[in-house]
């Protein structure tokens, strides 16, 4: 027994490609006349029109005090909280008896950019940065040491503020 097939009656106008092509071209020409929304990266980087979110969590930055010394006191909370285990810290003591990190290294390859290190830091020293251009020529350059973290100059993340959940 054959399956009953119903052949649709389609008007000639409805199946013609001419109409669809013209419709598409009309949309294209309409956009030619409208203002541009794309940014020509990397010739143009972020500007007032297009800015990376302040809560962006990118590669780290170590903040320094007025004398240019790192704020880190090697308390050991960031390696403890780090879920990716990417922070290596060896504490030491400087000539004035202050605690400071002898070794402070972040493996940015291992990092999952959760921002816990910034959140836990009691000295507001380590921050995740608003930064996304991280290309290097060799893998070992992705282990950022203390000097390099302190030398970074990009803005730091504001993280998510529970009292202002929508960032207003």
């Amino acid at each position: 027994m054959a399956i009953g097939v119903k052949v649709m009656e389609r008007p000639e106008q409805g199946v013609s490609y001419v109409r669809a092509t013209l419709k598409g071209m009309a949309l294209t020409f309409k956009h030619l006349l409208q203002p541009r929304v794309t940014m020509e990266y990397p010739e143009v980087r972020s500007d007032d029109e297009w800015r990376i979110a302040t809560r962006w969590r990118g590669t780290h930055r170590m903040l320094t005090d007025e004398q240019g010394r790192s704020k880190c006191v090697a308390c050991g909370l960031c390696p403890q909280i780090c879920p990716a285990n990417c922070i290596k810290l060896v504490p030491g003591e400087d000539e004035r008896g202050n605690r400071y990190p002898l070794i402070y290294e972040i493996d940015e390859f291992r990092c999952v950019f959760c921002g816990y290190c910034q959140e836990v830091c009691p000295e507001e020293a380590i921050h995740v940065g608003v930064h996304y251009e991280n290309a290097e020529y060799s893998r070992d350059r992705f282990v950022y040491d203390h000097e390099r973290l302190a030398a970074q100059s990009h803005p730091v993340s504001t993280l998510w503020d529970p009292t202002d959940p929508r960032g207003e």
């Binding site: 006191v73 090697a74 308390c75 050991g76 909370l77 403890q80 504490p91 030491g92 003591e93 008896g97 202050n98 605690r99 009691p122 000295e123």
Partner: protein
């Protein structure tokens, strides 16, 4: 109700305690921790911190739990709103001048102020407008550094030096909010037991210079162990960070060392981290000592024991476990054995306020274990007997140059060592063994108390416990023999220990045989 006990209710829990028990200890039995700073079970209580105030029904005011004896039918509230409010007030006062330097404080993570403030302190401060009191850091001498800003004046350190060490060099000077702990200017804190003030300090005010900035409390792995320093056998906690021993701390055992260890024991951990350890077994072949596997090493040991008829000398280091001594002697049963432990001698330094607690003159942890198993302390005679023997078994005992020359005249030497003795030309077998921080074992102290220690580190290379080497070589001689698989089985198999297992010893040990203190020469 009997005459010797009283029953009371603490936070709804009924407990029965001996008469004269303080409320704080009774609460501990009821499973309620009363927050406290000045109280310490091994020190007299002055009730100065006012932290342990509890509410007792029918008493007009709140009472300090550390100096109030439990009474029949008392109803005590530790966590009532009034008691909590009192503690909150005390904590607020303590925090007025306490610096917010937990990130750089060595005590952070094991600080009682941190714990109790977190538990029931206020979230904010009402004194933000006033500067905090500041006093410079003071060096109390030896291993102790005093950071007055962090001090909460619980006076545990003062009472320890006054009543336990009985050398009153610390006191509270000045008054009111200017009060600090100060040291007699003519003295330093160099008493042999003074390091305990660092452990007693509930905050990070007294810190160990040796441990300063080395590790954070939460990084440490803690392993129950026994101090290998002398025949007292103090219970200790071995704190390791990434397989490196960073400090030794006392572990409470009311029968042996209460809450204290001496500074000699406390500082004696660097050998545990030695980097020049023997990692590979070697037997003497045609080209001198050749590295080999355990099978051939054990076969050579078994052959050396089986082939000779003459005397054997066993030279033991002071930290060799009871299991190891027992199995080495069992391996040699049938031979004429002279066994002795090397016992370095020092001064005996008692802790005045505690009965039967001292840094003993015999600085070998397992001397009495050795004596119980039939090894003596006559080291010099044992070394002197070496040239006349076929075989010397050297178990982790350091030798002086003259002793080395004597032992070099023996027929053959089997070195079961953590660190190889390279000077011995007649070494037939060189077997790497674990040190006491890498194996389980038992030490027997001067009172005949057998106490366990647990492994805190991974053994280097192919190192095995000495009892394992001895027992497996012993099992090779006869097919009917099987070597014990664990240290506990190894201990239980020794006739002198009469089936004693590690589980029976628990963590505070057990007196198995009062050993007559043998003479040491």
């Amino acid at each position: 109700m009997s005459d010797a006990t009283v029953s009371l209710s603490i936070d709804g829990m009924d407990v029965t305690v001996p008469k004269g028990t303080m409320l704080i200890e009774a609460a501990k039995q009821a499973g309620v921790v009363v927050p406290h700073y000045c109280y310490h079970p091994s020190l007299p209580s002055p009730a100065v911190c006012r932290m342990c105030l509890v509410e007792v029904e029918k008493l007009p005011k709140m009472v300090p739990a550390c100096v109030t004896t439990a009474g029949e039918g008392q109803v005590v509230h530790v966590h009532s709103p009034a008691a909590k409010k009192a503690r909150e007030g005390v904590l607020e006062f303590l925090l007025i001048n306490h610096p917010l330097d937990c990130p750089i404080c060595d005590q952070a993570g094991e600080c009682e102020l941190q714990d109790f403030v977190f538990q029931e302190g206020q979230a904010g401060t009402r004194y933000a407008d006033y500067p905090k009191r500041f006093n410079p850091v003071e060096d109390f001498g030896h291993d102790v550094l005093y950071i007055p800003n962090r001090c909460i004046l619980c006076t545990r350190c003062v009472r320890f030096m006054d009543h336990v060490a009985e050398e009153s060099v610390l006191t509270v000077s000045e008054r009111g909010d200017r009060a600090t702990i100060s040291i007699d200017p003519a003295h330093r804190l160099d008493h042999q037991w003074a390091g305990n003030v660092v452990d007693l300090c509930p905050v990070g005010s007294l810190v160990s210079k040796d441990f300063l900035h080395k590790a954070r409390a939460w990084d440490l792995d803690k392993t129950a162990s026994v101090c290998p320093g002398c025949t007292q056998g103090c219970n200790i906690m071995v704190d390791t960070r990434d397989e490196v021993v960073v400090r030794l701390r006392p572990r409470p055992n009311l029968e042996v060392n209460r809450h204290f260890i001496c500074d000699t024991g406390r500082a004696d951990y660097r050998w545990m981290n030695r980097g020049d350890r023997l990692e590979e077994a070697a037997v003497r072949g045609e080209q001198g000592l050749e590295g080999t596997a355990w099978e051939s090493t054990l076969e050579r040991v078994a052959a050396l024991v089986a082939e000779g008829e003459g005397a054997v000398t066993v030279l033991l280091g002071g930290r060799v476990s009871t299991e190891s001594i027992g199995w080495i002697l069992r391996l040699l049963s049938g031979r004429r054995v002279t066994a002795a432990m090397r016992v370095p001698l020092g001064d005996e330094v008692p802790l005045a306020g505690m009965a039967n607690l001292a840094l003993r003159a015999e600085r070998a942890a397992n001397l009495h274990g050795a004596q119980l198993l039939g090894a003596g302390a006559d080291w010099h005679a044992a070394v002197a007997s070496a040239p006349d023997t076929d075989l010397v078994i050297l178990v982790d005992a350091p030798l002086s140059d003259t002793e080395l020359a004597v032992v070099a005249r023996a027929g053959a030497v089997v070195q079961l060592s953590t660190v190889a003795e390279p000077g011995l030309e007649n070494t037939a077998v060189l077997a790497p063994i674990t040190s006491m921080v890498e194996e389980q074992g038992v030490f027997i102290n001067r009172d005949g108390r057998a106490q366990r220690f647990l492994p805190a580190r991974t053994p280097p290379g192919m190192a095995r416990p000495a009892w394992w080497v001895a027992a497996n070589a012993w099992a090779l001689a006869d097919e009917a023999r099987t070597a014990p698989a664990t240290a506990s089985e190894a201990l239980a198999a020794l006739p002198a220990l009469d089936g004693l297992t590690h589980a029976q010893l628990g963590f505070t040990g057990r007196v198995i045989a009062p050993v007559a203190a043998g003479g040491v020469r």
